[in-house]
Amino acid sequence: MTSQSAVDMADPTVDAPVLQVANLQTWFYTRAGLVKAVDGVSFSLARGETLAIVGESGCGKSVTSLSLMRLVADPPGRIVGGTVHLGDTDLLRLDEAAMRAVRGNRIAMIFQEPMTSLNPVMTIGRQISESVILHQRLSRAAALERTIEMLRLVGIPEPAQRVKEYPHLLSGGMRQRAMIAMALACNPEVLIADEPTSALDVTIQAQILEVIAKLRRELGTAVILITHDLGVVAETADRVIVMYAGRKVEEASTMDLFVRPMHPYTRGLINSIPRLSLMRGESQAAVTRLQEIPGMVPALSNLPEGCAFAPRCALASDTCRREYPPYEQKQPGQWAACWHSDQIERIDHD
Protein backbone atom coordinates (compact mmCIF):
# COMPACT_ATOMS: atom_id res chain seq x y z
CA MET A 1 0.00 0.00 0.00
CA THR A 2 1.38 3.42 -0.88
CA SER A 3 1.25 6.53 1.21
CA GLN A 4 -1.25 8.03 -1.20
CA SER A 5 -3.89 5.44 -0.41
CA ALA A 6 -3.23 5.87 3.29
CA VAL A 7 -4.53 9.39 2.99
CA ASP A 8 -7.69 8.26 1.27
CA MET A 9 -8.45 5.82 4.01
CA ALA A 10 -7.74 8.16 6.91
CA ASP A 11 -10.66 8.19 9.30
CA PRO A 12 -13.76 7.92 7.09
CA THR A 13 -16.15 9.05 9.84
CA VAL A 14 -15.34 12.75 9.46
CA ASP A 15 -16.46 15.01 6.66
CA ALA A 16 -14.18 16.55 4.06
CA PRO A 17 -10.82 17.41 5.63
CA VAL A 18 -9.85 21.09 6.01
CA LEU A 19 -6.29 20.34 5.10
CA GLN A 20 -5.05 17.59 2.85
CA VAL A 21 -1.36 17.17 2.23
CA ALA A 22 -0.25 14.69 -0.40
CA ASN A 23 3.26 13.53 -1.13
CA LEU A 24 4.86 16.75 0.08
CA GLN A 25 8.53 17.00 -0.82
CA THR A 26 10.75 19.80 0.45
CA TRP A 27 14.36 19.49 -0.53
CA PHE A 28 17.35 21.61 0.38
CA TYR A 29 20.10 22.20 -2.10
CA THR A 30 23.16 22.63 0.11
CA ARG A 31 26.91 22.41 -0.19
CA ALA A 32 26.78 19.07 1.60
CA GLY A 33 24.49 17.81 -1.15
CA LEU A 34 20.81 17.24 -1.63
CA VAL A 35 18.96 17.12 1.69
CA LYS A 36 15.50 15.64 1.45
CA ALA A 37 14.17 17.26 4.61
CA VAL A 38 10.60 16.27 3.81
CA ASP A 39 10.23 13.38 1.43
CA GLY A 40 6.76 12.30 0.41
CA VAL A 41 4.75 13.17 3.50
CA SER A 42 0.97 12.86 3.27
CA PHE A 43 -1.74 13.45 5.83
CA SER A 44 -5.12 14.98 6.25
CA LEU A 45 -6.65 17.04 8.97
CA ALA A 46 -10.31 17.22 9.90
CA ARG A 47 -12.11 20.24 11.30
CA GLY A 48 -11.42 20.64 15.00
CA GLU A 49 -8.92 17.81 15.05
CA THR A 50 -5.51 17.91 16.71
CA LEU A 51 -2.80 16.13 14.79
CA ALA A 52 0.60 15.78 16.40
CA ILE A 53 3.75 15.41 14.35
CA VAL A 54 6.54 13.94 16.47
CA GLY A 55 10.15 12.98 15.96
CA GLU A 56 13.67 13.87 17.01
CA SER A 57 15.36 17.11 16.01
CA GLY A 58 16.15 17.14 12.33
CA CYS A 59 13.49 14.63 11.31
CA GLY A 60 11.67 17.21 9.16
CA LYS A 61 8.72 18.15 11.32
CA SER A 62 9.45 21.87 11.40
CA VAL A 63 10.20 21.96 7.67
CA THR A 64 6.87 20.23 7.10
CA SER A 65 5.04 22.96 8.97
CA LEU A 66 6.98 25.75 7.25
CA SER A 67 6.21 24.12 3.90
CA LEU A 68 2.49 24.29 4.65
CA MET A 69 2.90 28.03 5.26
CA ARG A 70 5.23 28.30 2.25
CA LEU A 71 7.79 29.93 4.53
CA VAL A 72 10.76 27.67 3.77
CA ALA A 73 13.80 29.85 3.09
CA ASP A 74 14.56 29.69 -0.62
CA PRO A 75 17.46 29.24 -1.26
CA PRO A 76 18.41 26.68 -0.03
CA GLY A 77 14.96 25.09 0.45
CA ARG A 78 12.48 24.32 -2.28
CA ILE A 79 9.12 22.59 -2.25
CA VAL A 80 9.69 20.26 -5.18
CA GLY A 81 6.55 18.17 -5.19
CA GLY A 82 3.17 17.35 -3.75
CA THR A 83 -0.02 19.24 -3.04
CA VAL A 84 -1.33 21.07 0.02
CA HIS A 85 -5.08 21.51 -0.24
CA LEU A 86 -6.66 23.93 2.19
CA GLY A 87 -10.32 23.47 1.39
CA ASP A 88 -10.31 23.60 -2.40
CA THR A 89 -7.19 25.70 -2.82
CA ASP A 90 -3.83 24.12 -3.51
CA LEU A 91 -1.53 26.38 -1.54
CA LEU A 92 1.50 25.31 -3.54
CA ARG A 93 -0.07 26.66 -6.74
CA LEU A 94 -0.87 30.13 -5.36
CA ASP A 95 1.25 33.13 -6.27
CA GLU A 96 2.98 34.97 -3.44
CA ALA A 97 0.34 37.71 -3.10
CA ALA A 98 -2.49 35.16 -2.90
CA MET A 99 -0.48 33.12 -0.40
CA ARG A 100 -0.04 36.23 1.78
CA ALA A 101 -3.81 36.57 1.90
CA VAL A 102 -4.00 32.99 3.20
CA ARG A 103 -1.24 33.25 5.80
CA GLY A 104 -2.53 34.47 9.13
CA ASN A 105 -6.04 34.44 7.73
CA ARG A 106 -6.90 30.83 6.86
CA ILE A 107 -3.79 29.13 8.17
CA ALA A 108 -1.80 30.53 11.06
CA MET A 109 1.27 29.55 12.97
CA ILE A 110 2.79 30.01 16.39
CA PHE A 111 6.47 29.56 17.04
CA GLN A 112 8.75 28.05 19.62
CA GLU A 113 10.27 31.29 20.89
CA PRO A 114 7.63 33.44 22.56
CA MET A 115 10.33 35.72 23.98
CA THR A 116 11.48 36.94 20.58
CA SER A 117 8.42 36.36 18.42
CA LEU A 118 6.91 39.71 19.37
CA ASN A 119 8.35 42.96 18.10
CA PRO A 120 9.94 44.69 21.14
CA VAL A 121 9.16 48.23 19.98
CA MET A 122 5.47 47.70 19.23
CA THR A 123 2.63 47.47 21.73
CA ILE A 124 0.85 44.13 22.03
CA GLY A 125 -2.39 45.67 20.78
CA ARG A 126 -0.78 47.22 17.75
CA GLN A 127 0.88 43.93 16.77
CA ILE A 128 -2.21 41.80 17.01
CA SER A 129 -4.54 44.33 15.40
CA GLU A 130 -2.04 44.76 12.56
CA SER A 131 -2.87 41.26 11.39
CA VAL A 132 -6.60 41.80 11.79
CA ILE A 133 -6.49 45.04 9.81
CA LEU A 134 -4.44 43.31 7.13
CA HIS A 135 -6.94 40.54 6.50
CA GLN A 136 -10.32 41.78 7.60
CA ARG A 137 -10.24 45.41 6.51
CA LEU A 138 -11.42 46.55 9.92
CA SER A 139 -10.91 50.04 11.25
CA ARG A 140 -8.15 50.54 13.82
CA ALA A 141 -10.69 50.87 16.63
CA ALA A 142 -12.63 47.75 15.61
CA ALA A 143 -9.40 45.79 15.22
CA LEU A 144 -8.32 46.84 18.69
CA GLU A 145 -11.65 45.69 20.08
CA ARG A 146 -11.18 42.33 18.37
CA THR A 147 -7.66 42.17 19.83
CA ILE A 148 -8.91 42.78 23.35
CA GLU A 149 -11.53 40.09 22.86
CA MET A 150 -8.87 37.63 21.65
CA LEU A 151 -6.57 38.42 24.57
CA ARG A 152 -9.45 37.76 26.95
CA LEU A 153 -10.11 34.48 25.16
CA VAL A 154 -6.53 33.26 25.64
CA GLY A 155 -6.73 34.14 29.32
CA ILE A 156 -4.62 37.27 29.58
CA PRO A 157 -5.87 39.28 32.56
CA GLU A 158 -6.89 42.93 32.07
CA PRO A 159 -6.67 42.76 28.26
CA ALA A 160 -7.76 46.39 27.80
CA GLN A 161 -4.71 47.40 29.82
CA ARG A 162 -2.32 44.90 28.20
CA VAL A 163 -2.90 46.10 24.64
CA LYS A 164 -1.16 49.35 25.50
CA GLU A 165 1.91 47.59 26.89
CA TYR A 166 5.12 46.49 25.26
CA PRO A 167 6.14 42.81 25.10
CA HIS A 168 8.95 43.08 27.66
CA LEU A 169 6.35 43.56 30.38
CA LEU A 170 4.88 40.11 29.70
CA SER A 171 6.26 36.78 30.91
CA GLY A 172 7.06 33.97 28.48
CA GLY A 173 3.74 32.24 29.05
CA MET A 174 1.82 35.48 28.59
CA ARG A 175 3.71 36.22 25.40
CA GLN A 176 2.88 32.79 24.03
CA ARG A 177 -0.76 33.48 24.86
CA ALA A 178 -0.46 36.76 22.97
CA MET A 179 1.05 34.86 20.04
CA ILE A 180 -1.88 32.45 20.09
CA ALA A 181 -4.27 35.41 20.17
CA MET A 182 -2.48 36.90 17.17
CA ALA A 183 -2.57 33.61 15.28
CA LEU A 184 -6.26 33.05 15.95
CA ALA A 185 -7.43 36.66 15.59
CA CYS A 186 -8.65 36.06 12.03
CA ASN A 187 -10.25 32.76 12.96
CA PRO A 188 -8.10 30.51 10.73
CA GLU A 189 -9.15 27.02 9.71
CA VAL A 190 -5.76 25.56 10.62
CA LEU A 191 -3.38 26.48 13.42
CA ILE A 192 0.17 25.17 13.24
CA ALA A 193 1.88 25.15 16.62
CA ASP A 194 5.59 24.51 16.18
CA GLU A 195 6.85 23.36 19.58
CA PRO A 196 4.69 25.96 21.31
CA THR A 197 5.71 24.93 24.81
CA SER A 198 9.36 23.88 24.47
CA ALA A 199 10.72 27.23 25.66
CA LEU A 200 8.36 27.43 28.65
CA ASP A 201 8.58 25.83 32.04
CA VAL A 202 6.40 22.87 32.88
CA THR A 203 3.57 24.54 34.76
CA ILE A 204 3.19 27.13 32.02
CA GLN A 205 3.33 24.39 29.35
CA ALA A 206 0.18 22.80 30.70
CA GLN A 207 -1.61 26.15 30.73
CA ILE A 208 -0.67 26.94 27.14
CA LEU A 209 -1.79 23.49 25.96
CA GLU A 210 -5.05 24.02 27.80
CA VAL A 211 -5.55 27.36 26.03
CA ILE A 212 -4.93 25.76 22.64
CA ALA A 213 -7.30 22.88 23.41
CA LYS A 214 -10.00 25.25 24.64
CA LEU A 215 -9.82 27.48 21.58
CA ARG A 216 -9.89 24.43 19.33
CA ARG A 217 -13.13 23.37 20.97
CA GLU A 218 -14.66 26.84 20.90
CA LEU A 219 -13.55 27.98 17.46
CA GLY A 220 -13.37 24.63 15.67
CA THR A 221 -9.83 25.31 14.52
CA ALA A 222 -7.87 22.27 13.40
CA VAL A 223 -4.47 22.11 15.08
CA ILE A 224 -1.19 20.68 13.88
CA LEU A 225 1.03 20.27 16.89
CA ILE A 226 4.72 19.88 16.14
CA THR A 227 6.57 18.50 19.12
CA HIS A 228 9.21 16.08 20.35
CA ASP A 229 7.48 15.73 23.68
CA LEU A 230 5.34 12.61 23.81
CA GLY A 231 3.83 13.78 27.09
CA VAL A 232 2.36 16.75 25.24
CA VAL A 233 1.08 14.41 22.54
CA ALA A 234 -0.66 12.13 25.00
CA GLU A 235 -2.42 15.08 26.60
CA THR A 236 -3.63 16.91 23.53
CA ALA A 237 -3.53 15.01 20.25
CA ASP A 238 -6.26 12.97 18.57
CA ARG A 239 -3.96 11.47 16.02
CA VAL A 240 -0.19 11.21 15.71
CA ILE A 241 2.27 11.12 12.86
CA VAL A 242 5.77 9.93 13.64
CA MET A 243 8.47 11.22 11.33
CA TYR A 244 11.95 9.91 10.89
CA ALA A 245 14.57 11.27 8.50
CA GLY A 246 12.09 13.26 6.45
CA ARG A 247 9.52 10.51 6.08
CA LYS A 248 6.38 9.49 7.84
CA VAL A 249 7.11 6.15 9.55
CA GLU A 250 3.92 5.68 11.51
CA GLU A 251 0.45 7.13 11.83
CA ALA A 252 -2.20 6.15 14.35
CA SER A 253 -4.71 7.46 16.82
CA THR A 254 -2.98 8.62 19.99
CA MET A 255 -4.41 5.73 22.00
CA ASP A 256 -3.30 3.08 19.53
CA LEU A 257 0.12 4.60 19.20
CA PHE A 258 0.83 4.49 22.90
CA VAL A 259 -0.73 1.08 23.47
CA ARG A 260 0.82 -0.77 20.55
CA PRO A 261 3.27 1.14 18.42
CA MET A 262 4.00 -0.62 15.13
CA HIS A 263 7.33 0.98 14.29
CA PRO A 264 10.47 0.23 16.33
CA TYR A 265 11.31 3.95 16.30
CA THR A 266 7.97 4.84 17.90
CA ARG A 267 8.52 2.07 20.40
CA GLY A 268 11.92 3.54 21.21
CA LEU A 269 10.47 7.01 21.67
CA ILE A 270 7.81 5.74 24.05
CA ASN A 271 10.30 3.66 26.01
CA SER A 272 12.54 6.66 26.52
CA ILE A 273 9.87 8.51 28.53
CA PRO A 274 10.84 8.40 32.21
CA ARG A 275 8.22 6.56 34.27
CA LEU A 276 7.59 8.10 37.65
CA SER A 277 5.97 5.00 39.16
CA LEU A 278 9.10 2.99 38.53
CA MET A 279 11.37 5.69 39.87
CA ARG A 280 9.44 5.89 43.11
CA GLY A 281 10.66 2.36 43.68
CA GLU A 282 7.26 0.81 44.32
CA SER A 283 8.74 -2.42 43.21
CA GLN A 284 12.49 -2.67 43.37
CA ALA A 285 12.52 -5.28 40.65
CA ALA A 286 10.69 -2.98 38.29
CA VAL A 287 13.28 -0.21 38.57
CA THR A 288 15.04 -0.28 35.26
CA ARG A 289 17.46 1.97 33.57
CA LEU A 290 15.82 4.59 31.37
CA GLN A 291 15.94 3.25 27.86
CA GLU A 292 17.29 5.18 24.96
CA ILE A 293 17.44 4.76 21.23
CA PRO A 294 21.06 3.97 20.43
CA GLY A 295 22.87 6.02 17.83
CA MET A 296 21.89 9.27 16.19
CA VAL A 297 19.62 10.52 13.44
CA PRO A 298 21.57 9.98 10.22
CA ALA A 299 22.64 12.98 8.16
CA LEU A 300 19.83 13.64 5.72
CA SER A 301 22.30 14.32 2.95
CA ASN A 302 23.67 10.81 3.30
CA LEU A 303 20.84 8.43 4.09
CA PRO A 304 21.51 4.72 4.13
CA GLU A 305 19.98 2.60 1.45
CA GLY A 306 16.88 0.82 2.64
CA CYS A 307 15.25 1.77 5.94
CA ALA A 308 16.77 4.94 7.41
CA PHE A 309 16.22 3.62 10.92
CA ALA A 310 17.93 0.27 10.31
CA PRO A 311 21.35 1.29 11.75
CA ARG A 312 19.69 2.03 15.12
CA CYS A 313 17.11 -0.73 15.09
CA ALA A 314 17.26 -3.92 17.13
CA LEU A 315 15.07 -5.74 14.62
CA ALA A 316 17.04 -4.76 11.54
CA SER A 317 17.62 -7.53 9.07
CA ASP A 318 19.29 -7.68 5.67
CA THR A 319 15.98 -6.83 4.00
CA CYS A 320 15.79 -3.64 6.08
CA ARG A 321 19.26 -2.59 5.02
CA ARG A 322 18.53 -3.33 1.38
CA GLU A 323 15.03 -2.03 0.75
CA TYR A 324 12.85 0.73 2.18
CA PRO A 325 9.82 -0.89 3.82
CA PRO A 326 6.35 -0.25 2.33
CA TYR A 327 4.07 2.09 4.26
CA GLU A 328 1.08 -0.09 4.98
CA GLN A 329 -1.85 -0.60 7.27
CA LYS A 330 -0.88 -2.79 10.22
CA GLN A 331 -4.09 -2.53 12.23
CA PRO A 332 -7.35 -0.78 11.38
CA GLY A 333 -6.52 2.93 11.42
CA GLN A 334 -2.83 2.38 12.04
CA TRP A 335 -0.13 2.56 9.39
CA ALA A 336 3.59 2.06 9.62
CA ALA A 337 6.62 1.59 7.41
CA CYS A 338 8.42 -1.41 8.84
CA TRP A 339 9.31 -4.90 7.67
CA HIS A 340 9.12 -6.36 11.14
CA SER A 341 6.09 -4.85 12.86
CA ASP A 342 5.04 -8.36 13.86
CA GLN A 343 8.18 -8.83 15.93
CA ILE A 344 7.83 -5.46 17.69
CA GLU A 345 7.38 -7.09 21.12
CA ARG A 346 10.92 -8.40 20.94
CA ILE A 347 12.33 -4.91 21.49
CA ASP A 348 11.34 -4.65 25.13
CA HIS A 349 12.88 -7.97 26.01
CA ASP A 350 16.25 -7.38 24.42
Binding site: G104, T116, L118, N119, V121, M122, S131, M179, A183
Partner: protein, 297 residues
Protein backbone atom coordinates in the same frame (compact mmCIF):
# COMPACT_ATOMS: atom_id res chain seq x y z
CA UNK B 1 26.85 44.63 57.05
CA UNK B 2 26.99 47.17 54.34
CA UNK B 3 25.36 50.43 55.13
CA UNK B 4 23.36 51.30 52.04
CA UNK B 5 21.02 54.20 51.86
CA UNK B 6 18.12 52.62 50.05
CA UNK B 7 16.21 55.83 49.52
CA UNK B 8 19.21 57.50 47.96
CA UNK B 9 19.86 54.52 45.68
CA UNK B 10 16.25 54.42 44.58
CA UNK B 11 16.35 58.15 44.03
CA UNK B 12 19.39 57.70 41.78
CA UNK B 13 17.63 55.02 39.75
CA UNK B 14 14.61 57.24 39.36
CA UNK B 15 12.18 55.01 41.23
CA UNK B 16 9.81 57.74 42.35
CA UNK B 17 9.75 59.61 39.07
CA UNK B 18 6.25 60.44 37.94
CA UNK B 19 5.00 62.95 35.44
CA UNK B 20 6.84 64.60 32.58
CA UNK B 21 8.40 67.36 34.65
CA UNK B 22 10.04 65.16 37.28
CA UNK B 23 11.11 62.72 34.55
CA UNK B 24 12.93 65.57 32.84
CA UNK B 25 14.50 66.61 36.14
CA UNK B 26 15.63 63.05 36.71
CA UNK B 27 17.26 62.92 33.27
CA UNK B 28 19.08 66.18 33.95
CA UNK B 29 20.42 64.87 37.23
CA UNK B 30 21.40 61.56 35.63
CA UNK B 31 23.09 63.06 32.57
CA UNK B 32 24.26 66.57 33.57
CA UNK B 33 26.64 66.86 30.60
CA UNK B 34 23.88 65.94 28.19
CA UNK B 35 21.69 68.58 29.79
CA UNK B 36 24.45 71.15 29.28
CA UNK B 37 24.69 70.08 25.63
CA UNK B 38 20.94 70.36 25.18
CA UNK B 39 21.03 73.77 26.84
CA UNK B 40 23.76 75.00 24.46
CA UNK B 41 21.78 73.79 21.45
CA UNK B 42 18.56 75.28 22.75
CA UNK B 43 20.41 78.54 23.31
CA UNK B 44 21.59 78.66 19.69
CA UNK B 45 18.18 77.65 18.39
CA UNK B 46 16.63 80.51 20.37
CA UNK B 47 19.29 82.88 19.05
CA UNK B 48 18.55 81.80 15.49
CA UNK B 49 14.80 82.12 15.91
CA UNK B 50 14.83 85.49 17.68
CA UNK B 51 17.76 86.98 15.75
CA UNK B 52 15.76 90.08 14.84
CA UNK B 53 14.89 90.72 18.49
CA UNK B 54 18.35 90.10 19.87
CA UNK B 55 20.21 92.58 17.73
CA UNK B 56 19.12 95.85 16.15
CA UNK B 57 21.89 95.73 13.57
CA UNK B 58 21.41 94.27 10.12
CA UNK B 59 24.10 91.68 9.42
CA UNK B 60 24.48 92.82 5.81
CA UNK B 61 24.60 96.63 6.11
CA UNK B 62 28.09 97.97 5.61
CA UNK B 63 29.33 101.06 7.37
CA UNK B 64 32.77 102.35 6.43
CA UNK B 65 33.01 104.43 9.59
CA UNK B 66 32.76 101.35 11.76
CA UNK B 67 35.23 99.26 9.73
CA UNK B 68 37.32 97.09 12.05
CA UNK B 69 35.72 98.68 15.11
CA UNK B 70 36.86 97.10 18.37
CA UNK B 71 34.34 95.32 20.56
CA UNK B 72 32.66 97.91 22.69
CA UNK B 73 29.40 99.55 23.62
CA UNK B 74 28.36 100.31 20.06
CA UNK B 75 29.42 97.06 18.42
CA UNK B 76 29.32 94.36 21.10
CA UNK B 77 31.74 92.06 19.30
CA UNK B 78 33.28 94.66 17.04
CA UNK B 79 32.79 95.09 13.31
CA UNK B 80 34.48 93.54 10.30
CA UNK B 81 36.48 95.22 7.57
CA UNK B 82 33.30 96.37 5.83
CA UNK B 83 31.92 97.73 9.07
CA UNK B 84 29.27 95.02 9.47
CA UNK B 85 28.34 94.36 13.08
CA UNK B 86 29.95 91.06 14.19
CA UNK B 87 27.37 90.32 16.85
CA UNK B 88 24.56 90.60 14.31
CA UNK B 89 26.47 88.45 11.86
CA UNK B 90 27.08 85.73 14.43
CA UNK B 91 23.47 85.83 15.56
CA UNK B 92 22.14 85.57 12.01
CA UNK B 93 24.89 83.08 11.17
CA UNK B 94 23.31 80.73 13.71
CA UNK B 95 20.32 80.54 11.37
CA UNK B 96 22.47 79.48 8.45
CA UNK B 97 24.46 76.96 10.48
CA UNK B 98 21.45 75.32 12.08
CA UNK B 99 19.48 75.29 8.86
CA UNK B 100 22.31 73.61 7.01
CA UNK B 101 23.16 71.11 9.74
CA UNK B 102 19.59 70.10 10.56
CA UNK B 103 18.62 70.02 6.89
CA UNK B 104 21.65 68.02 5.84
CA UNK B 105 21.33 65.58 8.74
CA UNK B 106 17.63 65.00 8.07
CA UNK B 107 18.20 64.51 4.36
CA UNK B 108 21.25 62.33 5.00
CA UNK B 109 19.28 60.16 7.45
CA UNK B 110 16.47 59.77 4.95
CA UNK B 111 18.87 58.69 2.22
CA UNK B 112 20.93 56.51 4.53
CA UNK B 113 17.87 54.76 5.97
CA UNK B 114 16.39 54.16 2.51
CA UNK B 115 19.61 52.64 1.20
CA UNK B 116 20.59 50.83 4.40
CA UNK B 117 17.16 49.34 5.07
CA UNK B 118 16.42 48.15 1.56
CA UNK B 119 19.92 46.87 1.04
CA UNK B 120 20.03 45.04 4.38
CA UNK B 121 16.52 43.66 4.24
CA UNK B 122 16.18 42.63 0.63
CA UNK B 123 19.82 41.79 -0.03
CA UNK B 124 20.63 40.32 -3.42
CA UNK B 125 21.88 42.37 -6.33
CA UNK B 126 20.48 45.63 -4.96
CA UNK B 127 22.54 45.17 -1.80
CA UNK B 128 25.63 44.44 -3.88
CA UNK B 129 25.29 47.56 -5.99
CA UNK B 130 24.21 49.83 -3.14
CA UNK B 131 27.12 48.69 -1.00
CA UNK B 132 29.67 49.34 -3.77
CA UNK B 133 28.15 52.81 -4.16
CA UNK B 134 28.53 53.34 -0.42
CA UNK B 135 32.11 52.02 -0.62
CA UNK B 136 32.93 54.61 -3.25
CA UNK B 137 31.44 57.38 -1.12
CA UNK B 138 33.23 56.09 1.94
CA UNK B 139 36.60 56.04 0.23
CA UNK B 140 36.61 59.82 0.62
CA UNK B 141 36.66 61.50 4.04
CA UNK B 142 33.50 63.36 5.02
CA UNK B 143 34.94 66.80 4.29
CA UNK B 144 36.52 65.87 0.96
CA UNK B 145 33.33 64.21 -0.19
CA UNK B 146 31.26 67.25 0.77
CA UNK B 147 33.86 69.38 -1.01
CA UNK B 148 33.57 67.38 -4.21
CA UNK B 149 29.77 67.47 -4.02
CA UNK B 150 29.66 71.21 -3.28
CA UNK B 151 32.06 71.93 -6.12
CA UNK B 152 29.97 69.83 -8.49
CA UNK B 153 26.65 71.33 -7.42
CA UNK B 154 27.77 74.94 -7.20
CA UNK B 155 27.40 77.25 -4.18
CA UNK B 156 23.92 77.91 -2.84
CA UNK B 157 22.15 77.25 0.44
CA UNK B 158 20.20 74.26 -0.93
CA UNK B 159 23.20 72.80 -2.68
CA UNK B 160 25.29 73.02 0.46
CA UNK B 161 22.61 71.09 2.33
CA UNK B 162 22.45 68.45 -0.42
CA UNK B 163 26.24 68.21 -0.67
CA UNK B 164 26.65 67.62 3.07
CA UNK B 165 23.71 65.22 3.23
CA UNK B 166 25.24 63.03 0.51
CA UNK B 167 28.48 63.00 2.45
CA UNK B 168 26.60 61.82 5.56
CA UNK B 169 24.80 58.96 3.79
CA UNK B 170 27.51 56.25 3.87
CA UNK B 171 27.88 56.23 7.63
CA UNK B 172 24.15 56.09 8.27
CA UNK B 173 23.50 53.52 5.55
CA UNK B 174 26.20 51.25 7.00
CA UNK B 175 24.80 51.35 10.52
CA UNK B 176 21.19 50.86 9.40
CA UNK B 177 22.17 48.01 7.08
CA UNK B 178 24.09 46.09 9.72
CA UNK B 179 21.23 46.56 12.19
CA UNK B 180 18.74 45.40 9.59
CA UNK B 181 20.83 42.33 8.80
CA UNK B 182 20.58 41.11 12.37
CA UNK B 183 16.97 42.24 12.86
CA UNK B 184 15.62 40.42 9.83
CA UNK B 185 16.71 37.06 11.27
CA UNK B 186 14.72 37.56 14.47
CA UNK B 187 11.63 35.43 15.06
CA UNK B 188 9.23 38.38 15.07
CA UNK B 189 10.02 38.97 11.41
CA UNK B 190 9.17 35.34 10.69
CA UNK B 191 6.04 35.75 12.80
CA UNK B 192 5.04 38.81 10.76
CA UNK B 193 5.51 36.77 7.62
CA UNK B 194 3.33 34.01 9.06
CA UNK B 195 0.62 36.59 9.64
CA UNK B 196 0.69 37.44 5.93
CA UNK B 197 2.53 40.76 5.84
CA UNK B 198 4.29 41.73 2.64
CA UNK B 199 8.05 42.13 2.65
CA UNK B 200 7.90 45.91 2.24
CA UNK B 201 5.41 46.17 5.08
CA UNK B 202 7.66 44.06 7.30
CA UNK B 203 10.65 46.24 6.46
CA UNK B 204 8.76 49.44 7.28
CA UNK B 205 6.62 48.41 10.25
CA UNK B 206 8.73 45.70 11.89
CA UNK B 207 12.38 46.39 11.13
CA UNK B 208 12.57 50.17 10.72
CA UNK B 209 11.18 51.07 14.19
CA UNK B 210 13.82 48.81 15.71
CA UNK B 211 16.63 50.77 14.06
CA UNK B 212 15.42 54.12 15.38
CA UNK B 213 17.52 54.06 18.55
CA UNK B 214 20.89 53.80 16.77
CA UNK B 215 19.63 56.24 14.15
CA UNK B 216 18.88 58.91 16.76
CA UNK B 217 22.31 58.46 18.32
CA UNK B 218 23.98 58.70 14.94
CA UNK B 219 21.94 61.69 13.83
CA UNK B 220 22.87 63.74 16.90
CA UNK B 221 26.50 62.94 16.33
CA UNK B 222 26.23 63.91 12.66
CA UNK B 223 24.64 67.25 13.56
CA UNK B 224 27.99 68.48 14.88
CA UNK B 225 29.93 67.11 11.92
CA UNK B 226 27.51 68.83 9.55
CA UNK B 227 28.17 72.19 11.20
CA UNK B 228 31.91 71.64 11.03
CA UNK B 229 31.73 70.62 7.38
CA UNK B 230 29.54 73.59 6.56
CA UNK B 231 32.08 75.93 8.18
CA UNK B 232 34.94 74.25 6.37
CA UNK B 233 33.15 74.50 3.05
CA UNK B 234 32.43 78.17 3.70
CA UNK B 235 36.03 78.69 4.72
CA UNK B 236 37.13 77.27 1.39
CA UNK B 237 34.63 79.41 -0.48
CA UNK B 238 32.36 76.53 -1.44
CA UNK B 239 29.72 76.90 1.21
CA UNK B 240 26.62 79.01 1.60
CA UNK B 241 27.21 82.15 -0.52
CA UNK B 242 26.43 85.78 0.27
CA UNK B 243 24.16 87.27 1.45
CA UNK B 244 23.61 84.55 4.12
CA UNK B 245 26.07 85.25 6.93
CA UNK B 246 28.07 82.12 7.65
CA UNK B 247 30.46 81.51 10.55
CA UNK B 248 32.87 79.64 8.34
CA UNK B 249 33.03 82.41 5.76
CA UNK B 250 33.46 85.02 8.49
CA UNK B 251 36.58 83.15 9.50
CA UNK B 252 37.92 82.86 5.98
CA UNK B 253 37.30 86.53 5.18
CA UNK B 254 39.34 87.69 8.12
CA UNK B 255 41.74 84.92 9.04
CA UNK B 256 44.60 85.84 6.71
CA UNK B 257 44.49 89.63 6.83
CA UNK B 258 43.16 90.58 10.22
CA UNK B 259 44.09 87.83 12.66
CA UNK B 260 46.81 90.05 14.15
CA UNK B 261 45.22 93.46 13.85
CA UNK B 262 41.61 92.55 14.63
CA UNK B 263 41.62 89.11 16.33
CA UNK B 264 37.94 89.45 17.41
CA UNK B 265 36.97 88.79 13.80
CA UNK B 266 38.44 85.30 14.15
CA UNK B 267 37.83 84.52 17.80
CA UNK B 268 34.06 85.05 17.99
CA UNK B 269 32.94 83.04 14.94
CA UNK B 270 35.40 80.34 16.02
CA UNK B 271 33.89 80.30 19.51
CA UNK B 272 30.39 80.06 18.07
CA UNK B 273 31.32 77.04 15.93
CA UNK B 274 33.09 75.30 18.80
CA UNK B 275 30.23 75.92 21.20
CA UNK B 276 27.57 74.43 18.93
CA UNK B 277 29.68 71.41 18.03
CA UNK B 278 30.55 70.91 21.69
CA UNK B 279 26.84 71.05 22.54
CA UNK B 280 25.83 68.47 19.94
CA UNK B 281 28.64 66.16 21.04
CA UNK B 282 27.63 66.34 24.70
CA UNK B 283 24.00 65.70 23.82
CA UNK B 284 24.90 62.91 21.41
CA UNK B 285 26.98 61.09 24.04
CA UNK B 286 24.21 61.43 26.61
CA UNK B 287 21.60 60.06 24.21
CA UNK B 288 23.85 57.14 23.36
CA UNK B 289 24.22 56.30 27.05
CA UNK B 290 20.50 56.71 27.59
CA UNK B 291 19.51 54.36 24.78
CA UNK B 292 22.24 51.82 25.37
CA UNK B 293 22.78 51.42 29.11
CA UNK B 294 25.35 48.65 28.63
CA UNK B 295 27.81 51.10 27.15
CA UNK B 296 29.62 53.82 29.11
CA UNK B 297 28.99 54.76 32.71
Amino acid sequence: MLALDHTAELEKAGANVSGKRSAALHLIRRYPLGAVGALIILFFVAVAVFAGVITAFDPLTTNSEAALARPGAEHLLGADFMGRDMFARIVYGARTSLMVSVGATALGCLGGVLIGLSSGFFGGWFDLIAQRFIDILQALPLLVLALVMAAALGPSLQNTIVAISIALIPNIARVIRSNTLSLRELPFVEAARAVGMSEIRIALTQVLPNTLAPLIVLATAQLGSAILVESSLAFLGLGVPEPHPSWGRMLSESAADYVRTAPWLVIFPGLAISAVVFGTNLLGDAIRDMLDPRQGT
